[in-house]
């Protein structure tokens, strides 16, 4: 037999053996397992383009670990989850202004963080234009995590668990800004809220109905709140001046800083009302601790200025009964699945 042919046969035989032998994968990284989000049909199409960052179990797991890792901050005290607490619908419970490293304090309240895949722009002033670039702000802001990207990448690259997780998610253990940020996006993309009493009632799920107060409150909401807090996301993602008086100490003029346009003076992003009862305090600077203070503001606290929104300019004229019913309706927007979801729970990281 021709020697060359013999070798070829032998190699082919080896190939057969190799492909048939069990347990051969000890050095091969299996491809990450795709993850499909189950999204409600009555929501709009997500803004986020998953084609550029397909969700995988491994990517989401990596993102979750990064989200809860305080070592990504300058002094290892502040993680993303430090300010975005699950039990507070991923806002910072009871804190009017955001907290950061070295006892620093920011100038705005921590917004809730869910349903982000439907958001085009981020931050109270909409200054950040993509979910995948959003982590740059809290990472590097001296009042938040105060760390440089370079240091963060080095810390993550230096950790054996992360190297394993990067390999599982991306095929190699190389840590880059893009991989890191996209893993965070993957985790954040799974933080969604659409299982509330409101959703059940609207979609006739499980024979649930509003109480009389809730039903009446819903009517008040539709008449006086819904044009800005648009269903089903309970925000239209616009920037508006809701008449909140300017705070001289914080000197925050809102979206005007981003657009350089005086027409945007004191305009802030309309926040969602989903999980509103889980996420006090309220307003961009957390000045109201109680939802009834918010009702009072819309009744009689509007500060008149050239940019104040016409919809609230003359007050909302909410009667005592209106306020009470509205309160009961807003309670139906609480998503217990979100605040108790074990897959989103804080991880204790000790390696």
């Amino acid at each position: 037999m021709n020697r060359k042919l013999y070798i070829l046969y032998f190699l082919a035989f080896c190939w057969l053996l190799y492909t048939c032998s069990p347990g051969k994968t000890d050095e091969v990284t299996p491809a990450p397992e795709p993850y499909t989000l189950d999204l409600p049909s009555y929501f709009p199409k997500p803004v986020y383009n998953f084609e550029n960052n397909p969700l995988t179990m491994e990517g989401i797991a990596l993102g979750r670990r990064l989200f809860y890792d305080p070592r990504l901050s300058k002094d290892s005290t502040v993680s993303c989850g430090f300010c975005h607490q699950q039990f507070a619908a991923f806002s910072h419970f009871d804190h009017p202004l955001s907290h950061g490293v070295e006892n620093r304090t920011g100038t705005r309240t921590v917004p809730t963080m869910f349903n982000v895949i439907w958001q085009q722009n981020f931050m109270w002033d909409g200054g950040v234009n993509h979910l995948d670039i959003q982590p740059l702000t809290p990472f590097t802001d001296p009042n938040e995590m105060g760390e440089t990207l370079e240091n963060i990448i080095n810390k993550v690259q230096g950790n054996a668990t992360y190297r394993k997780m990067f390999k599982a998610a991306y095929g190699t253990d190389q840590v880059t800004t893009e991989r890191l940020f996209k893993a965070l996006s993957q985790f954040m993309a799974t933080v969604n809220s659409f299982t509330t009493k409101y959703d059940s009632v609207i979609n006739h799920i499980g024979n649930v109905s509003f109480t009389y107060e809730e039903e009446t409150g819903y009517e008040v909401f539709k008449a006086k709140c819904a044009s800005c807090h648009k269903e089903p996301l309970f925000t239209d993602f616009s920037y508006r001046n809701n008449g909140i008086p300017y705070n001289t100490f914080l000197d925050d003029v809102g979206r005007m800083r981003i657009t350089n346009n005086t027409g945007d003076y004191m305009k802030f992003k309309v926040p969602t009302l989903r999980n509103i009862m889980k996420s006090p305090p309220y307003m961009h600077d957390g000045r109201f601790y109680d939802i009834f203070q918010v009702f009072n503001h819309y009744n009689s606290g509007i500060e008149q200025s050239a940019t104040v929104d016409p919809l609230v300019k003359n007050g909302l004229n909410l009667s005592g009964i209106d306020q009470r019913n509205l309160y009961f309706f807003l309670r139906t927007l609480t998503d217990e699945d979100l605040v108790n979801n074990q897959d989103l729970k804080e991880l204790i990281i000790n390696d």
Partner: protein, 253 residues
């Protein structure tokens, strides 16, 4: 034994894949060459030195330069037959302190008689809206605004006694990709007809004169303008100035 089998098998697969991929790399019928662009930084005609050299701007202010960085992208070549060739995939971050960054390779350039070379100083609007990216566009390079998304297209930092800031530092961070004050406008440099042949390389040396940042449509005095950190009218003025900083020093076929 298993290890041994595995390595044989791997070899086999490797041989197979080499055999299969043999001719997939070459583009059929494309006559292309390479342009090597060398960036040469000067201040009023003399070679730029960071940190320890004193310069004077047109407002008579003494200054030294500590950082000089800018993006080049969206190269476009024009040919004597009137045709144009866009090279949309190339993004370069030129940094005076990194000598390798001043040698730009434009590959797969259509062969022909080149009459002009055009580019953006900065990163096009699409990439400013695309979230996190890698390579030259990685935000780790400190050329991306975190609070108001968008690339810093060009950055000049230094010290000047004229600057009314702590430590007399000045920082001109120029960007803005939308609206009236967008700093994204094509810069066109005519070339004295250069022949690029297939499989060949042409070397073009571009000079960038930092002094132009202070001089031009909108003269910049560091006493008045020592810090630019936002897109807008002032940034646009500085852009108008530096848009005139490039010139072709030499071309060698």
């Amino acid at each position: 034994m298993k290890k041994c089998l595995q390595s044989y098998a791997t070899l086999f697969i490797l041989l197979l894949s080499v055999a299969c991929n043999n001719d997939s790399d070459t583009k059929p019928g494309a006559a292309t060459g390479t342009i090597q662009l060398s960036m040469f930084h000067v201040f009023n005609g003399t070679a730029l030195r960071l940190n320890d050299t004193q310069y004077q701007n047109n407002s008579g202010e003494g200054l030294s330069i500590t950082t000089f960085k800018y993006y080049l992208s969206n190269f476009k070549l024009k040919y004597s037959d009137g045709s144009e060739e866009r090279l949309p995939g190339d993004y370069f971050l030129v940094d005076e302190s990194v000598s390798a960054s001043k040698q730009l390779i434009l590959s797969d350039v259509k062969a022909g008689k080149i009459t002009s070379i055009a580019f953006l100083v900065g990163v096009d609007s699409a990439r400013n809206n695309s979230g996190v990216q890698s390579g030259a566009l990685d935000p780790v390079h400190g050329m991306f605004w975190s609070w108001n998304s968008g690339y810093i297209m060009a950055k000049l930092e230094g010290q000047s006694d004229a600057a009314n800031t702590p430590d007399h530092t000045f920082a001109l961070h120029i960007g803005g990709f939308q609206g009236t004050y967008s700093v994204l406008h094509e810069i066109v440099l005519p070339v004295n007809t250069v022949q690029l042949n297939a499989q060949q390389e042409v070397k073009i040396t571009l000079s960038a004169d930092v002094a132009k940042w202070f001089d031009g449509t909108r003269p910049i005095s560091l006493q008045v303008t020592s810090t630019v950190h936002v897109p807008g009218e002032t940034a646009y003025g500085v852009y108008q100035n530096y848009s005139k900083m490039f010139s072709i020093l030499s071309v060698s076929e």
